[in-house]
């Protein structure tokens, strides 16, 4: 199997005032090159922690995380990251936010940045500052910034969570478009079941306390997908029922049954 990302025996604990808390337990996940994986789970299941570990932002854990057969030890441009908030530099224009430390005077960089701006459809906004952009536009700049560096994997932590429903579905289409054009491996964390099924080749369902992978549901529907089609609804139902079982267990846990 041509796995670009191999995670095995991953354990992560936090020290809290209430004692040690296991955030992730025995996570095993392989992601194929070019695959689109979405991770879904109740809040506090450690899905964002998992993403941070893959990114190398959190290295305090046990187990192996291999990207292209190399253990992840620190953040790098190989692992593009898009946060829930856009995290643009407010003092840089759109084009400079995408280029950041790459010199725009270099014609090669200039061409790549212009290409990226075209891909995320922000032509005409090159010189705008983040305060002049809407939430969706800002997030597209953040995606372009990560994508410009040709990462081996794109990690997206609830990237559309703060957007309104219309913008969100628009952004989902933009993201699929980018994925299909660039063949970049994508791992996206979300709490939106529709989003998870709409985007993914495979939906990973996580369970909380401790965070474990409960199930994986392959989504074999062809793109572009119609959210209203019966096959989509059927898959959505499967994921939802898995998800509900997770939540029921949670309820039983917390009520002490």
């Amino acid at each position: 199997m041509n796995a670009i990302l191999q995670i095995d025996h991953l354990n992560k604990t936090f020290d809290t005032p209430q004692g040690r808390m296991q955030a992730l337990r025995s996570i095993k996940l392989n992601v194929r090159r070019g695959e689109f994986v979405t991770i879904i789970g109740p809040s506090g299941c450690g899905k964002s922690t998992l993403l941070k570990i893959i990114a190398g932002l959190d290295t305090d854990h046990d187990g192996q995380v291999l990207l292209d057969n190399e253990q992840v030890t620190k953040p790098s441009i190989d692992k593009g990251f898009v946060f829930q908030e856009h995290r643009l530099f407010p003092w840089l224009t759109v084009e400079r936010n995408i280029a950041v430390d790459w010199p725009l005077r270099d014609p090669d960089v200039r061409r790549k940045v212009d290409e990226m701006i075209a891909i995320v459809r922000l032509k005409g906004f090159e010189k705008a500052y983040p305060r002049e952009l809407s939430g969706g536009m800002s997030q597209r700049v953040a995606i372009a910034r990560a994508l410009l560096r040709k990462p081996k994997v794109m990690l997206l932590d609830e990237p559309f969570g703060a957007l309104d429903a219309f913008t969100r579905s628009h952004m989902q289409e933009v993201l699929l478009d980018i994925w299909q054009q660039n063949q970049t491996t994508m791992i996206l964390v979300t709490h939106d079941i529709d989003e998870a099924v709409f985007l993914a080749n495979r939906v990973v369902i996580m369970d909380a306390r401790p965070g474990t992978i409960r199930n994986m549901v392959p989504v074999d529907l062809p793109y572009p997908r119609k959210k209203s089609s019966s096959s989509f609804q059927e898959l959505r139902r499967i994921v939802l029922s898995e998800f509900e079982r997770v939540e029921e267990l949670e309820l039983m846990d917390s009520s002490g049954i």
Binding site: F89, R121, E132, R145
Partner: protein, 284 residues
């Protein structure tokens, strides 16, 4: 899959939005600018008019409060003889040297304290102690050590200018959004790029505020420096005129202080406007 239909609601035509943004930052229309000027001038103009009237009616003593017209003619005489500009020249020179010395060091120390915790821990307590020592308390020492010459004046002005820039630069750096440092790590920015692309721009609003306050303090320190003993400068002009009860010249000196101070302040505000146009803040 292709999403070729751009949705007008979600991504408006480029022209529209950037024009709206441009309008917000562009120059105000002429009429509005005059209104702002008028609002700023109304109070002093009214006071001046009332003052002149009172003086002409003999309601106030000319030795205590000379009429604006008397002050103007005194200023004119001083300007024509060239005396005024000589005094102004030396005063501005003192303020600039003192400010450059104190402000420059304040900026450097503030950056080092902001960036390196160990530097902060070893230097900040001492700096804070010195900050609380008043100008007037330390002036006798400066005179003892450095005499009445220019050096003690530069140092006194520098002492005042150091602290606002130091404190505000430090604060600005420490106020930088820690979330952006995660981004810097992911983008593998070098330490140098982190400083130029993240730390300095993030600190800039505070640094400029510090600059404004430092300039103000340097200008005020100048008065103390020139009053403590000198034979030229605007402060000397005031002291000298006071001894001969030439009240109108005292006023000229005070007005010069006010005007030059305001000009320096306006310059920094202009810097703020051009350097911080990316800021998204309430503007009243």
């Amino acid at each position: 899959m292709s999403v070729s239909t751009t949705k007008p609601l979600l991504s408006p035509a480029p022209g529209e939005e950037s024009r709206a943004a441009a309008q917000a930052t562009a120059k105000q229309p002429r009429k509005e600018r005059w209104a702002v000027l008028w609002r700023g001038a109304a109070l002093p103009v009214t006071v001046l008019a009332a003052w002149q009237l009172a003086a002409m009616l003999g309601l106030i003593s000319p030795t205590l409060l000379p009429a604006p017209s008397a002050i103007a003619s005194a200023a004119w005489e001083l300007a024509v003889s060239g005396e005024l500009f000589e005094h102004m020249h030396i005063s501005v020179y003192r303020a600039v040297v003192g400010f450059a010395l104190g402000g420059g060091l304040g900026l450097v120390f503030g950056v080092l304290s902001g960036l390196f915790r160990s530097f902060e821990q070893s230097v900040d307590p001492t700096v804070q102690m010195f900050r609380m020592v008043p100008h007037l308390a330390i002036t006798p020492l400066f005179i003892l050590w450095f005499g009445f010459g220019e050096l003690s004046k530069f140092l006194l002005i520098a002492k005042g200018a150091f602290f606002p820039l130091y404190v505000n630069t430090f604060l600005g750096i420490r106020n930088a959004d820690s979330k952006l440092f995660d981004v810097a790590r992911i983008l593998e920015l070098s330490r140098w790029k982190q400083i130029t692309l993240l730390v300095i721009p993030a600190a800039l609003p505070n640094v400029l505020l510090g600059l404004r306050l430092s300039l103000g303090v340097a200008w005020l320190g100048l008065v103390v420096a020139e009053l403590m003993g000198s034979s030229e400068g605007i402060g000397y002009l005031i002291m000298d005129a006071r001894q001969f009860t030439q009240t109108s010249i005292v006023f000229v000196g005070i007005i010069i202080f006010a005007i030059v101070g305001k000009a320096a302040d306006s310059f920094v505000r202009y810097l703020e406007k051009t350097l911080l146009k990316w800021r998204d803040t309430y503007s009243g």
